[in-house]
Amino acid sequence: MTKYYTEEHEWIAVAGNIATLGITDYAQAQLGDVVFVEVPVIGRKVKKGEETAVVESVKAASEVYSPVTGTVVEANGPLADNPITVNEDPEGAGWFCRIEMSDPAELEVLMDEAAYKTFVEGL
């Protein structure tokens, strides 16, 4: 499994042609306490850069964009009842959905973990 990162602080973990989507530890720390999560319905087609999930802290709502084009094949339903999971385990149990990618070439422009770490240090 390979992990990729965006400048908007999403991560995707890729195994075969399935990409799992979430937000990074840096993102959850910026948001603060997460009180609401909306995950996409299974079967929804998403385009690269399209709003795919919503995560809300006490103070504000943020949209989560998919870094890849494809079809949602699984959603993390239990997050709705336990949105704080996004704070507690953002890069594990706090994932939003899994997307079957239709264009794996889109991965090429994303950052790897080291590049993302450097990117965050520069913020």
Partner: protein, 386 residues
């Protein structure tokens, strides 16, 4: 992910933000500092949910030194009270020494220029203390000063800082530090000393809890802050929890729930216009405000509970069961004590009755919600036995 934009974004970003005397203390506590109303202020320390819960359970300490503190000074109470009554609809002539009242500076249409606290200190006849909102204070001072008679002066207290200690343990903390305030009624004011530091207190606040606002000289506020935080019942609370606490308390935030286009009657603040002023008028916009009292208003501020978990934020449209627009959300978010989303907004008066079913338009969908009476969390103000 979109960068979270705080609802109360800075409106003075063209100039470098000011700092309160406690800035370094906030940073040392690990606060996240954000620009607010021209100041760099702590939005959170350990986290909004934990801070909110602590304030409702024990005692929360807030730095609200960005707010404006001023005194009106004249020859006697009647002269100063009449001068202020020409600008606000509260009965100040009848304000007893040692008491505070909530009011609003009104424009000629009865719209709210700012909301404020007015107090009459014991043994200081001919003075009235004012506390106004940070974002409005420069405009407020100009507005007030331009309308005072020659024998009443406005003194601005740049030298004073302001703390709020809120929550059920607030009174016990202050008593343990030597302030004899246990018997004070809600909205009482007076001088006291906390661990030997002279302060001016009011038993009031912006959380719906019992508590105190503490005016103190800027030179001594850092010491007072540290002494209060040494008590294990006290934790620092940022602007984030201040907002969720006041929203659950059904309290208005200026610039959101009230502004120059809303009158005190529409805003549900009629309780702050005492009987004599309703009879006599004599404040800006009195013709409009008094006719609204007599004949009713076209729209009203209401509380709203979404059925689901999604918060509706400031600006969300309110629709009726047929999808027709009937109003707008002016404050909304997650209520940690309620355990779900809460909102306030204005709706057409025919839809304002508690129990009315409405929709809140969030991300293009009308989420089901219900009009409810305010506050969301019952107030726990201390009422002294008569």
């Amino acid at each position: 992910m979109t960068t979270p934009v705080h609802a109360d974004h800075d409106t003075h970003s063209a100039v470098a933000p000011l700092k309160t005397p406690l800035h370094d203390a906030h940073v040392a506590l690990g606060a996240r500092m954000v620009p607010f109303a021209g100041y760099l202020m702590p939005v959170q320390y350990e986290g909004i949910l934990a801070e909110h819960a602590h304030c409702r359970a024990a005692a929360g300490l807030f730095d609200v030194s960005h707010m404006g503190q001023a005194t009106l000074r004249g020859p006697d109470h009647q002269t100063v009270a009449r001068a202020l009554e020409s600008l606000i609809p509260a009965d100040i002539l009848g304000l007893e020494p040692g008491r505070q009242r909530y009011s609003q500076l009104l424009n000629e249409r009865g719209g709210i220029l700012d909301d404020l606290m007015v107090h009459r200190a014991l043994g200081a006849d001919g003075t009235l203390g004012l506390v106004v909102n940070a974002a409005c204070k420069v405009a407020d001072y100009a507005h007030i000063a331009a309308r005072l008679p020659e024998n009443v002066l406005l003194e601005i207290h740049e030298e004073r800082a302001l703390l709020a200690l809120q929550g059920p343990e607030a009174v016990n903390v202050l008593v343990s530090l030597g302030a004899d305030v246990a018997g004070w009624d809600f909205m009482a004011v007076g001088s006291a000393s906390i661990a030997g530091i002279p302060v001016f207190l009011s038993r009031s606040g912006y959380t719906g809890e019992d508590g105190f606002e503490i005016s103190v000289h800027a030179d001594t506020v850092v010491g007072l802050w540290e002494i209060l935080l040494r008590d294990p019942r006290v934790r620092p609370i940022g602007l984030g929890a201040r907002d969720s606490l006041r929203l659950e308390g059904g309290l208005c935030l200026y610039g959101h729930d009230i502004d120059e286009t809303t009158t005190p009657v529409e805003a549900g603040l009629l309780w702050s216009i005492q009987k004599r002023r309703r009879e006599e008028g004599g404040f800006p916009g009195a013709d409009i405000v008094l006719s609204q009292i007599a004949e009713g208003v076209a729209r009203k501020r209401v509380g709203i509970r979404p059925d689901g978990r999604a918060p509706a934020r400031d600006g969300a449209e309110i629709v009726d069961e047929n999808g027709v627009a009937i109003g707008v959300v002016t404050s909304g978010g997650f209520g940690p004590t309620v355990g779900g989303p809460v909102a306030m907004g204005y709706v057409a008066a025919v839809h304002a009755r508690p129990g009315t079913r409405v929709g809140l338009v969030v991300r293009g969908k009308a989420l089901p919600a219900e009009i409810v009476s305010l506050p969301f969390v019952p107030a726990r103000f201390y009422r002294a036995p008569k």
